[in-house]
Amino acid sequence: MPSHVPNSSGLQRLIAQLAPLLIVCAIVFALPVLLNNDFLLNKVARYLVLGILTVSLGLSWGFGGILNLGQAMSFGLGSYAMAMALKLKTVPVHTGASGLPDFMVWNNVQHLPWFWEPFRSLTFAIAAGLIVPALVAAALGWFMFRGRVTGVYVSIITLATMVVINLVIIDQQSYTGGFNGITDLAQLEIFGVAFDAYGRATYYLVACCVLLSLLVAFAFTKSKAGLIVQAIRDHESRVRYFGYDVALYQIFVFALSAAIAGLAGMLYTVVMEFASPTFLGVQLSLSVVVWCAVGGRQSLVGAFLGAVLVAGMQGALSESAAFLETWTLVMGALFVLVVLFLPKGLAGLAQVVWRWIVQRRQAASGRVAQGVGQTEGST
């Protein structure tokens, strides 16, 4: 409650800004105590992973002003990196020589392709799940931002690039499993801990990653680079006149966001126990945009909660087809309303309500002047 403290120092403000983030993470960590159901816990873990993905989009869209309609591309790349490693760890059943994955045997592939070879190492796979999406994004960002492509065109290029990669993955069936994706995976095992998709260990792994990615994203938005990125979002050419290399900052936030999405993708494979071309499909990619917009694109915690709540709601209703269809209709309407009237999403709404409560309280205790002076402008 920053406005209660006169002359709140930088540290106190920082703590106040971190509070929602820490509260949400505390709830995430406490959930298994309340939920004594492994099946449900797996579902929640899934929504949390989608939350991380949405935070990554919030970073590039809400803070960098880069509406990446292909955010699922990074997610899918991470997911495939993990799936490739876990596939090679399976006990060969159908496989031929040197433990070829089953779909390669079906497609008459004789040797493990060179780009599969390094995925025998789990360490390599995890590194690749972060670095490959980041590198691809950096290359794409270099291609776009060096040419000063902005706004709508960024969205089209990112979407088209994702569709191309998706088409290639589906087309190259013998190396990627094609339309079916990579299924029948081994369990992830790190330092002797096995991460069963329905086990507590996996849930806590996901929860730790939620905390980690929220903190990294938060730290970035408070760093100097993060501030410059936000300045670019608000007025690109002004920042350029100050002598900053605008494209460099844009590429950086784009790549950072891709790396976080890659992390989410790897976790998704662990939680879902497969990787599929739909993980980098248009449907998911656009859903992430909806979650982010509903939660609040300029609030990391808001974006996270937006994904968890909306995806969770969708999951809960998907038991019945009629419910799901109606829900999708309601979702579309809700989305349009949010875009029209709540550009900052539910997080913006929460902020307004919170300020109103604080002001009311201060008015009641006769300290109006101090409170109003400290509220930041939010138009």
Partner: protein
Amino acid sequence: MDQFIEQIVTGLSIGSILLLVALGLSIIYGSMGIINLAHGEFVMLGAYAAWVFHTYLGLGLLASLVPIFLVVAAFGWVIERYVLSLLNNRPLDTILATWGVGIMLQQAVRLSVGSELRYVQLPPALSDSMDVFGISVSSYRVFLFVVSIALFGATWLLMNRTPVGMKLRAIIQDRSVAASFGINAKRVYALTFAYGAGLAGLAGALVSPLKSVSPDMGTGYVVDAFMVVVLGGVQSLAGTVASAFILGELSGGIAFLQNDTVAKAIVLLAIVVLIRFRPEGLFTARVRA
């Protein structure tokens, strides 16, 4: 040689469908700067309208074209009036809003009509085939080609030879100056959007006998149409025509040489590169910024 001509004709046929679908999008994007992601759903609405008119009123496809145009245009008018006009200076948000509208339209159709495939009959007068350059082509495809060119001509006349078109062009150049001359920008925008939507509806009705009608049929069209508009250049109707036929020939040709997936991927990559180096499109002269 025969095969070559056949490829050309196939390309022309794909191109004329692309032109039909892209024309409405081009008008809306070129004049209002709105990327209308609900465009595919307008196409879908047109196709369903054709089906409804046929099944419940017994109207043939050709007889119902005008009512279909009006119905879908009315949808467009309502959407512009009550959603898009609220987003005046937020072009990125119009993408989101129109996408949300698209979802709603798609779901509404799915809930009311059902998601099973529907079929629309070819007009009996056009169900035979005819000879073009020594190759037998379905008359309906020739008809589509002629209609797409005719609609392009009508749109060009509307934009360049009528008072409404002149007002629209004035608003595109400078909205506030146009408004100070007494042009009602809001009304012109609403009419433009309605016209674009109506064109999409016509496109949907016209392609409905060739493809099955389903609630999500629009998704593919909107991507293709968008590529046409980007390639042709914003604010260039003639560019839209040229790029529709170029893309038609290109995807027909590559699909013949390779396969559909490769064709799609190559066309998309070409578009990406094009946006990077010539965001104003292939057929637009560089104008003062």
